[in-house]
Amino acid sequence: MFNYRILGIIKRELKEKFLSKSFIITTIMFPMLLFVIGGVQAFLVTDEAASKLNIVCEDQNLTQSFQKELAVPESDLMKEGKFSFNFYTMNREELKKHLDDNKKSMLDDKLTGVIFVPDTVFNNKIMEYYSKSPNNLSLSRKLNEPINNVLIGAYFSSKALSANELKFMRGGIEVNGFKISKDENIKEEGFGSIALSWVFGLLLYLSLLMSGQMMLQSVIEEKSSRIAEVILSSVSPREMMTGKIIGSAITALIQMGIWLATVITVASPALNFLPADITVSIKAVQVIFLMVNFAVGLVLFLSLFGMVGSIFDNPQDAQSGMWPVMMLIMIPFFVAMSMMQNPNSPIGNVTALLPFTSIMVMPVKMTIVEVPIWQLALSIVVNIVAIFFVFPIAGKIYRVGILRTGKKPKWSEVVKWLKYKY
């Protein structure tokens, strides 16, 4: 199947692609983007401005409870070093004066805000917050729990409750996810697998669309610049198409390899790059499946993109022929993304085993739920079978189309090309 002519074409494709700006940019940009996003996020989290809050209670005892809960150096809030508190006991009248006195410092950001805890809090748990920016989500997220704890403590202190009972009441809830798999051990699992499926899906999607687009453009260019006939005087159309597909596929696989290596590096626990609640475990079988599946998908889709490119002689006309192929990539992508909400949706289970769609769906499914090996193998086999159907058809149309110029052909004509003896 491989001869020096195909190898020559592959070599040229690789040389052209590897040295192209778009390849270099996309290959480097993606990892950079990943690091930059991670870095910016980490920076934003740590860079939150220090908050200085006045806590004003109507009840003296409550003031003391707050002091005990919040001002101790061991509390989570104080450990972060981002909060400082002042405590006052005042009634509503005095609060008004306090607010007037502190108005200027609040407007100047010297004081973040004043939390007023009226006595009625024991009836309805409603407090008041005075600030230049009262709707600060990150602040309320951090303060809600300690404040609630103080209130619960104070409310139940008069009742006869043991320290344990109190502790239970004060505690929030936490859900730990466990992944059921064939392995003997049931493993605790965090957000990692969802994040991973998202990354896998997105990488596949971007890469298939990008390399497809490049294939299409390069075929159209060869056709419209009339180089095709020069090449065809040395090689057969099938050799030409095979060489182009393999060249593009190798390029895309190498790019995917670089991207995956970056993902694995970023995800590795040793680097401590990800937030602690996201642990990603990437298994070797997942990487291997992803690459094999991607290779098969490339051959399948690049044949289609090459076929479409050969039908048209300019990119504008080609748009109309490209959308059916794009749909074959986009619809499964959305199915795959929806599987993150509902990993066992019937449509997901079916599309994971159909030709074309499984290229996108299966790798995503595999990271979220345990997929038996035979299903992984089946999805690959199904697509390889699809290649045996698609490739000869694409080859025939390519053969006729690549030498056709002039009027944009009708679809009915393209179908007739299949019957031509070329």
Partner: protein, 305 residues
């Protein structure tokens, strides 16, 4: 000995017969012209010879063997619509073309340098194709066609769109290739070039070969009936005269076609008798153009010179 034979080639596109049972023979060491109007079927015939189109019917035979991929490697082909990779460098382009023909390594590299020097392109060997002038791109395309030292050179309308310098250069290359014993086949609608360069021709019209053979034989056969005439006086009496088949006025000269080849003396005698002053009487001259028109007719404006 015919080195290359085209036997009964037929090709139909969408019920339109582009080439209809075409057969001709290309002798060894000759320059062969496939001549015909635009749309007559020249390019389709040549593409079938190159294996770019599969014929519906018929064969291309080289020394008795049907041609295949092996033949492609021995041919240098210049299509009518030329094309190069715009972003590729000059030298890379040449080496790529040769590589597809199975020629790689130092020898090809050296040869490419020689050709580039000869055609004043050596300084630009590292330039991108798109940065070359159109004339230089044409030169590059010729070099790409002959770099792998083909035995057969097939050129489809090689002279169309060439500037006069490159036209001469291509003529020189063709003659040089011929002197090296290579077979050159080219198609053209320019009778002038065909007449000056070809040893053998095949004339194609509406997909059919209507005339073929050695150019000398064809001309000799047709010239005997034709007289090229310059004169003063009135020759209108020749219109409808029993020995005259047709009179064609080309301005300075008038072509007279006789019904029989042996009637030239009779025509001269007639002119003398009518006191027409004969300045030139050439009874052995006919242009390929005239032959072409005789065979292919003059509809659609005929062939343009």
């Amino acid at each position: 000995m015919y080195s290359l034979e085209v036997r009964n080639l037929t090709k139909t596109f969408n019920k339109v017969v582009a080439v209809d049972n075409a057969s001709f023979e290309v002798p060894d060491g000759s320059i062969f012209g496939l001549i015909g109007r635009n749309g007559a079927g020249k390019t389709t015939t040549i593409r079938m010879m190159m294996g770019i189109y599969l014929p519906d019917n018929g064969d291309v035979v080289l020394k008795g063997v049907k041609v295949g991929q092996e033949f492609k490697n021995r041919v240098g082909y210049l299509p009518e619509e030329r094309g190069l990779y715009k972003k590729m460098k000059v030298m890379d382009t040449l080496l790529y073309f040769a590589e597809l023909k199975g020629k790689t390594g130092r020898t090809v590299h050296k040869k490419a340098e020689e050709y580039l020097k000869r055609f004043d392109l050596y300084d630009r060997r590292l330039a991108k194709v798109e940065d070359l002038s159109k004339g230089n791109q044409q030169k590059l395309q010729f070099i790409g066609t002959i770099l792998h030292d083909p035995e057969f050179i097939i050129l489809d309308e090689p002279f169309s769109g060439l500037d006069p310098v490159n036209t001469n250069m291509l003529k020189d290359i063709i003659l040089e290739m011929k002197s090296q014993g290579k077979v050159i086949i080219f198609s053209t609608h320019l009778m002038d070039f065909a007449e000056k360069m070809c040893d053998h021709i095949a004339m194609i019209d509406h997909g059919k070969i209507i005339l073929k053979g050695s150019l000398n034989d064809i001309k000799a056969k047709h010239s005997q009936k034709n007289v090229s005439l310059s004169y003063d006086g009135d020759i209108s009496f020749l219109q409808g005269h029993p020995i005259v088949e047709k009179i064609a006025d080309y301005g300075n000269t008038t072509g007279v076609r006789l019904k029989e080849a042996n009637q030239t003396q009779q025509l001269l005698k007639l002119l003398m008798e009518r006191n027409v002053i004969v300045k030139k009487f050439d009874a052995n001259d006919i242009s390929l153009q005239e032959i072409f028109i005789e065979y292919a007719g003059q509809e659609e404006g005929g062939a343009n010179v």
